[in-house]
Amino acid sequence: MLAPRFVARQLFVGVRRWNHTPAIPALSPVTEQDVAHFAKFLAPTSIFSTLGPNPIPISELSPYNNDWMGKYHGKATTVVKPKTTEEVSKIVKHCCERRIGIVPQGGNTGLVGGSVPIGNELILNLGSMSKVRSFDPVSGILVADAGCILQSLTDYVAPHNHIMPLDLGAKGSCQIGGNVATNAGGLRLLRYGSLHGSVLGLEVVLPDGTILDQLTTLRKDNTGYDLKQLFIGAEGTLGVITGVSLLTPPSPQASNNVILALPSFDNVLPLYKTVKQQLSEILSAFEFIDRTAYDLAVKHGQGRGLHDDEIEGAECFVLVETSGGRREHDEQKLNDLLENLLTSDEPLINTGVLSQNPAQFSSLWALREGVTEAVSKEGKAYKYDISVPLSTFKDVVDLTREHLKSKGLLHEKGVKHVIGYGHVGDGNLHLNVVADAYTLEIQNALEPFIYELVASHKGSVSAEHGIGAMKTHALHYSKSGVSIEWMKKLKQLFDPHGIMNPGKVLEMP
């Protein structure tokens, strides 16, 4: 009874991905001899394979072969977890000679299928390289292995009164190497900028196994082309990042947050202007969640909701965070802002909640950060991470919903919700279409509709999530032919055999 449905679902998945993913260059699969070769320099606990002298059942490779959303499924037979950069270099060198495809993998929390194989490529997981190499408490410069989990780095620098320059919902699982490879954005970008600015140096293993050591701790170094910028955001297609040198900002002495309930989406933009003006340098986050996203987060217990009476008539919510050097100064600015908002002739907000203690501070953030998890509990999510003008946020969500309705897909067994939330401050909207199951019909209704909608606003089809396997065919909606041509030339230069994360980012012939 169950089997035919399962098989049918697998077929859909296969067909859908085949439609999208380009032909992978002729690469060799991993064989027993390769596993034996790895065993010569890797500890037995660093090799997980269904081949060779210590085979394990394929089901144990499942967490490496499948992505976090359950949308992308790889068929790797072998996972290696090297402990040093030299080991990574030897692995890559061997794969280069043997023409074996490699998927560099960190925390496997990516949302575009970039961290799992498309076929049976070798998975090179960086999770065992998780040491902090050095930290200078005066300059705040941190040097760490690529496999360090973001949350552990946050905990490492905290006693020295520093914080990581980025923060995202996946912080408990994502690794810094992956963050850099995908140029992760997150909740703090508004205040601390992107990784292109905070990364000072990288140690990368190039596709032929050569180690490129540019792991500098210099704040300023204008000596030649800045090669590291190529690897930041390259999603593992130009090399394997093994070490990161990062500038960490000092931790704020005082943090506050407030959730505001808005009667209409039209108030978001003027609210943002007012908030920016009155809070100025202490503003550290400005996040938006629409009513449905808020309801889902509360429904799935992500955080304590506001009182029902208070949020009646609220069309959307905004979470504002402040971080500054002096508590009294920040609170005064915040209180003045809130009083202005509430007592103005035409109030932009209905009401809101100001956190009174650290527990409430975390609880309010949980409402925003928990939306992603709530969505995955509610159903199967199609995620579109787009940059469009602020004024069009609501229209984009509404138009998508209307479009699905016109195709008869908006119902309990089809698309359950269309929601929008995201980093208003950065012009970045996370459009989520929550369906009962991933189906070809829904997919075809969404793409290229959404990409065309984004292109019509001259927006980005991927603000921060990257291209991965999901959007290789959609690159042209946001980048010109000339750009894409030169990207391919660079890829060809670094990786002539096409072994690094094949099938991701670019559609290579």
């Binding site: 407030v258 505001l260 304590r304 506001l306 009182h307 208070e310 809130l338 009083e339 509430l342 007592t343 907000i349 009401t351 809101g352 909640v353 100001l354 956190s355 009174q356 203690n357 650290p358 527990a359 409430q360 975390s362």
Partner: protein
């Protein structure tokens, strides 16, 4: 004591500004206490007490005549009172002590509260306190106050029901064996336990309104109370650091290590 106007409740909620529960505390260099240069907020059990008073008003409506909060502390404690006012209290009393003064002890606090109750023009019917403060964990103030006033007390409350007609309360208490229900006559002292309620967020309009609510300032002298500590703390230290375990490679090694630790086998 004059009986209060029939069926209308005056509720007093003492609150304490304590080190926030999320803070990682450290012993101060003098080993006389913990480093107090950290985030403070309202004692969580006191938040529950304020919340319960506000919920009583929501249930009993105009039968709750007034909710007054009181705190003993330095100038900064006024913020704690504002939070309570934002949650729904009507007015507050701040018994201000100098920043450098040591934290008052439960007996001192109980005597001060008795003085506050005696000063009120209208009788207090119900005093709701947190069962303990999370910085000293004394858990004595409510009980001592009941003793001083000669009032009924129901501690560790997880449910509170009041019959204003009969001036009686049914209080469910959390005890080791489970739950116990007490019927108490008013006036009554109640101390709150964790499961009594979940405190509300203070909404912005209420926070704004709270700024206009009155806070009466008093000193220990005004109340005729001596708040000097009677106990002297000799030393405060951290618990000994946990020593890590070790891994052994063979069973023989394990047996040898156990023998070293003085654990020998039982002869069969």
């Amino acid at each position: 004591m004059r009986p209060s106007s029939a069926c209308l409740l005056n509720i007093l909620v003492p609150v304490k500004r304590a080190v926030d529960y999320a803070v990682k505390i450290r012993v101060n260099p003098q080993q006389t206490g913990i480093d107090l240069n950290v985030k403070h907020s309202m004692n969580p059990f006191d938040e529950i007490a304020v919340e319960e008073a506000v919920r009583l008003r929501e249930r009993l409506k105009e039968k709750v005549k007034s909710i007054k909060v009181v705190t003993i502390g330095p100038a900064k404690s006024a913020e704690t009172l504002r939070t309570a006012l934002a949650m729904g209290a009507d007015s507050a009393i701040h018994i201000e002590i100098p920043d450098s003064a040591p934290s008052p002890e439960p007996l001192g606090v109980a005597k001060a509260l008795r003085a506050v109750i005696d000063r009120q023009s209208e009788d207090v019917d119900l005093v709701i306190l947190g069962k303990q403060a999370i910085d000293d964990d004394s858990g004595q103030t409510g009980q001592m106050l009941a003793g001083l006033m000669g009032w009924a007390q129901a501690t560790f409350a997880s449910k509170l029901e009041i019959d204003t007609e009969k001036k009686v309360a049914n209080v469910t208490r959390e005890i080791d064996g489970g739950l116990e229900v007490l019927r108490c006559k008013l006036p009554l002292i109640v101390t709150t336990d964790l499961r009594l309620n979940e405190p509300r967020y203070a909404s912005l309009p209420n926070i704004m309104k709270a700024k206009k609510k009155p806070i009466e300032k008093l000193s220990a002298e005004d109340l005729g109370v001596d708040l000097r500590p009677r106990l002297e703390t000799l030393k405060v230290t951290e618990p000994p650091k946990r020593v890590g375990g070790g891994k052994v490679d063979t069973v023989d090694e394990l047996v040898a290590k156990l023998a070293e630790a003085g654990i020998t086998g039982v002869k069969a």
